[in-house]
């Protein structure tokens, strides 16, 4: 493994206007779950600057292949076969290696393997819906899955989620922790979705839409979608330079 200098700086302040606000009544669940007082800022301490880092050794062989990681031997999940890949960068545009990326999704019919999901679409006996991987030295990740279906959800009387994959991303500091959702280029449901629309800036929403990438498509096997992720970046300050010199 490449010898990476430990990262000791605090992080750039989070631009909260780029993220969805806590209270976004178009998404009704936020109404009683949104803190009403302003969150309080303080300069980062080691508690914020450090964080758990996971190695590739934690991964099982099938962890990044949702088409088979829950399937019976010799079988695989039903649905359009796709590869999702991209790079995890920080706000300084530097690749972030050794980042645990976890993902979960509905099956091709839009049904989750969860006791609280009662949607009419059937479960696929060969699809669990979760996977994970760790970024390589250049911040790259990839996984194989089936394209999830859109599904209706109780919010308005006729609200539907666009096809999406949920992502959980670790950085190297605990305050880089991020959960988001990836959407698919060309899906007309994206701009109708109350959850998507909790994000105030259209340009921010566009960064969540993965592009079809025919160059990376595997012929006769799976189409590829590219989704890059940006985590918070670290500042360089006198204080941290001094620490590094010790």
């Amino acid at each position: 493994m490449r010898n990476i200098k430990p990262e000791l700086g605090g992080f750039f302040q989070r631009d909260r206007s780029w993220h969805p606000p806590a209270f976004a009544p178009g998404y009704k669940s936020t109404v009683v779950r949104s803190p009403q007082r302003a969150p309080i800022a303080f300069s980062h301490t080691l508690s914020e600057i450090t964080g758990p880092v996971f190695g590739h050794s934690m991964l099982g062989e099938l962890d990044n292949d949702l088409t088979v990681n829950f399937a019976r031997p010799g079988e695989s999940a039903i649905g359009p076969r796709i590869i999702v890949y991209g790079k995890v960068l920080d706000e300084n545009a530097r690749p972030v290696p050794n980042v645990l990326v976890e993902f979960w999704q509905a099956n091709a019919g839009g049904r989750y393997r969860h006791k609280k999901d009662g949607y009419l679409a059937p479960l696929d006996p060969n699809f669990g819906g979760c996977g994970r991987t760790v970024t390589d030295e250049d911040g790259n990740y990839w996984f194989r899955t089936v394209q999830p279906g859109a599904y209706p959800w109780p919010n308005g009387i006729n609200d539907w989620r666009p096809a999406h994959i949920h992502f959980s991303i670790f950085g190297h500091g605990f305050v880089q922790r991020l959960i988001t959702q990836m959407y698919f280029e060309g899906d007309p449901m994206i701009w109708r979705c109350p959850i998507v629309r909790t994000i105030p800036d259209k340009r921010a929403i566009e960064t969540l839409i993965a592009k079809l990438d025919m160059e990376s498509t595997v012929p006769m096997d799976a189409r590829a979608y590219k989704f890059d992720i940006v985590l918070r970046g670290r500042r360089q300050t006198m204080f941290e330079n001094k620490l590094e010199g010790n």
Binding site: P20, P21, T198
Partner: protein, 203 residues
């Protein structure tokens, strides 16, 4: 000193949604056989140094109801105040303590962490912070993971000089961050809204 500005925008957050357990704790929600066990459920082993404690947390929404569909992650120092992280510059932390935990709640909405009491960690100016655990909370209806801290009820002296607790403008809100102790268990109730709203951090 000139601070360079960030060149890229952080990826915007989206809610973890109602099925977050499929992704983060699949064994908990009956998706077995994909991972040997859920990540983060074991923080300690027989060799971990420090005082064994149990931390029980609950989350209440604005109606006073307990939330049962959340995930809480915690991050804390070892018994000597060192973090098990490559970004820890002061030395090697206890290799038998991960410092990181992740839990879903039981049917009553209680999140249980078996861990150790952390040591004190310095503030950037060199003063010591009181022992604390950092929290990150995600769930349906939470658009951006909530960040807060839990301090220990039996650390009155350290809490009274903690650089963050003492600087809170509304001192009557400090108790929202302090977990009382009974036996070896600390109870931490988190209120998302209302009179007892927990202090959340923008860090």
């Amino acid at each position: 000193m000139v601070q360079p500005l960030p060149r890229l925008k952080e990826t915007p957050s989206q809610t973890a949604g109602p099925y977050v357990h499929i992704g983060l704790t699949p064994n908990y929600c009956e998706i077995g056989g994909v991972y040997p066990e859920d990540l983060g459920i074991r923080m300690v082993n027989e060799k971990t140094k420090g005082e064994r404690i149990t931390v029980k947390m609950r989350i209440f929404d604005g109606t006073g109801s307990v939330i049962k569909d959340a995930v809480i992650e915690i991050w804390q120092a070892d018994a000597d105040g060192l973090y098990n992280s490559p970004s820890e510059p002061r030395g090697k932390a206890d290799p038998n303590f991960t410092g990181w935990g992740r839990q879903a709640s039981d049917e009553e909405g209680v999140f249980t962490f078996e861990t150790i009491k952390p040591g004190r960690v310095p503030f950037p100016d060199g003063r010591l912070q009181a022992p604390h655990i950092s929290l990150w909370i995600v769930a349906r209806g939470i658009n951006l993971g909530l960040q807060t801290r839990m301090y220990f009820g039996d650390e009155e002296k350290a809490n009274a000089e903690d650089p963050i607790l003492t600087r809170l403008e509304h001192q009557n809100r400090v108790p929202t961050l302090i977990a009382p102790r009974s036996g070896n268990t600390y109870h931490f109730d988190i209120h998302l809204q209302g009179e007892k709203e927990t202090v959340f951090f923008d860090v």
